[in-house]
């Protein structure tokens, strides 16, 4: 890689050991992808919690903090594995919770803003067309690239921290024009109303085209999608397909036309998705045990609009005895939802609202599942029915209204 004088000084250790280690990591990754140079970034979003990093990661952060590592770009954190108000009620491990508090302390010492949200793009920062950022989780990245026209690769926790310390990333992948063009076309002939239907569409597209560098171009969308619909579409594409970008002709900034979205690429395929295909997704989930005592609205965290809609569906109803319902969101949305009464409506119905977390990364989830007799997890999020599987859940995707009915009646549908 070509290095500027400033970057060479970082490599030589002139800016301290943490910066030196950070740029060494970035150079190795850049070499892997044949990056020619670095590009500056203006915003960083990182994943860092004890469930994902373990004791090894915690020790790494402790060393960085003791070496006076400091992030010099605004950097926010993704959802974490504890809502500290619910550690006891969820029977999570107190020692791990203490480690999480240590971890948060180290991050704060390094100038990290512990915002604990996976919907930074809805609540914290909206990068503009062409702006280079370094984001993770994957749902945030696909939003930045697709909806904002900003530029980011998937940046893991250590890589994002490195970017925040060096103020740059190696230029490869979605920082380059050549990888941002559509590679195949998805003609949508289905009527998509519920968030779960947008996620189901993405499951069909992502699962059949798993590749980081596959960029679907959606055509045929006959109305302006809402931000939450695009959120579920993107998060699910990233989850099932490991994809980091999509275009939607007429709606996303780099797709005013199909030709512009393809940018000269000849699409390798045109797939058509109709209503029957979406129905087949819902029909594909099985419930051999008949159990439906765990319903989840999470992954990504809920926007204020989702909280309002969900509160309306639960209004005047009660969650069935023996059933647990989780809804997750961030501090900002929850504060507004409390002020506006949505949180109260949900809690009155028996919904547990968790702040700053996502269900699939909750510490102790496997043990929690076993202790509560949760064999199935029912959700309107296509992403979470995919991401939670290592904890041995049988997962079932259902529309939002159906999830609420299942939660309140105990009857599977």
């Amino acid at each position: 890689m070509e290095l500027t004088a400033e970057e060479q000084a970082m490599v030589d250790g002139a800016l301290g050991v943490p910066v030196q280690r950070a740029i060494e990591l970035q150079i190795e990754v850049g070499r892997f992808y044949d990056a020619k140079r670095f590009v500056p970034v203006t915003n960083v979003h990182m994943m860092g919690d004890i469930e994902v990093m373990g004791d090894g990661g915690l020790e790494h952060l402790r060393c960085l903090a003791e070496q006076h590592a400091r992030c010099v770009v605004n950097i926010t954190t993704n959802a974490r594995c504890f809502d500290f108000a619910h550690v006891d009620s969820l029977k999570q491990d107190q020692r791990e919770a203490e480690k999480e508090l240590q971890l948060i302390g180290y991050l704060k010492r390094m100038n990290v803003m512990t915002t604990d949200t996976c919907i930074n793009y809805q609540t914290l920062y909206q990068p503009h067309l062409g702006e280079h950022v370094a984001w993770g989780d994957t749902g945030t990245v696909i939003w930045a690239n697709s909806v904002c026209g900003a530029r980011s690769n998937f940046e893991s926790g250590p890589a994002a921290m490195a970017a925040a310390m060096t103020q740059r990333v190696p230029e490869y992948g979605f920082h380059l024009d050549c990888h941002r063009k559509g590679t195949f076309v998805v003609d949508v002939q289905a009527e998509l109303d519920d968030l779960a239907e947008w996620g189901a569409l993405a499951k069909l597209v992502g699962e059949s085209h798993q590749s980081y560098f596959a960029v679907p171009v959606f055509t045929g969308i006959n109305r302006a999608p809402s931000a939450d619909e695009l959120k579920h579409l993107g998060a699910s594409l990233a989850s099932y397909g490991s994809m980091a970008m999509f275009h939607m002709v007429g709606f996303t900034p780099e797709a005013p036309t199909l030709e512009a979205a393809l940018g000269g690429n000849r699409p390798v395929e045109t797939m058509t998705i109709g209503n029957a295909d979406i129905e087949r997704v819902f029909a594909s989930y099985r419930n051999p045990s008949g159990s439906c005592n765990f319903v989840v609205f999470s992954g990504p965290q809920l926007s204020l609009f989702e909280m309002k809609y969900l509160a309306g569906l639960f209004d005047g109803r009660k969650v069935c005895g023996g059933t647990t319902v989780f809804a997750t969101t961030n501090n900002g949305v929850l504060s507004a939802a409390r002020k506006l009464g949505y949180a109260r409506q949900l809690e009155d119905a028996g919904v547990t609202i968790l702040e700053g977390v996502c269900v699939y990364i909750l510490q102790n989830l496997t043990q929690m599942r076993a202790a509560n007799g949760w064999t199935n997890m029912i959700s309107n999020s296509a992403k979470i029915v995919n991401t939670i599987t290592a904890h041995k859940f049988n997962t079932i995707l259902r529309r939002t209204r159906d999830c609420v009915d299942i939660a309140c009646t105990g009857a599977f549908r």
Binding site: L25, G56, E59, T138, N153, S156, Q210
Partner: protein, 140 residues
């Protein structure tokens, strides 16, 4: 050094030379979706490798799935002593690469052909990142 039965060239590679037993999967991989990160056993119901322990194995996956977790997870499982020796992906994503570099774990991307047809679980293979080669050393 053993003479290879077959040699394949990959597109990209990082890490130290790794030699060991191959585990070949028909399905992609995510340490978050598929792996119990406390035992090293693949636990996702229905995964072709469900029940397989990845410790010290050389893993062949056609694709990567998800997910940002690999960035910390590879380092975590290495510290826990349950990491594989190498990851040989058909197509991967930057998180896998960042995580492997952070953990100094061997990783490659880009298959010259469908390696699942040429290398089987239980075969002995060697990965040499500097030469960007995968060598089949012995059949099971």
């Amino acid at each position: 050094m053993s003479t290879p039965l077959l040699t394949f060239t990959v597109d990209r590679a990082f890490g130290p030379v790794a030699e060991g037993e191959a585990v070949v999967s028909g399905e992609g991989f995510s340490p978050r979706y598929d792996l119990d990160r406390w035992t090293g056993v693949i636990t996702k119901p229905g995964h072709p490798l469900e029940g397989v322990n990845i410790r010290d194995k050389i893993l062949f996956f056609p694709t990567a799935k998800g997910g940002i977790a690999a960035g910390w997870a590879f380092y975590d499982i290495k510290v826990k002593g349950i990491a594989p020796k190498a990851l040989v992906f058909g197509v991967t994503n930057p998180v896998m690469v960042q995580g492997a570099v952070f953990a100094n774990l061997t990783i490659t991307e880009g298959w010259p052909c469908d390696l699942r047809e040429c290398i089987k679980t239980g075969d002995t293979v060697r990965v040499t990142p500097a030469a960007k080669t995968i060598e089949l050393l012995a059949r099971k």
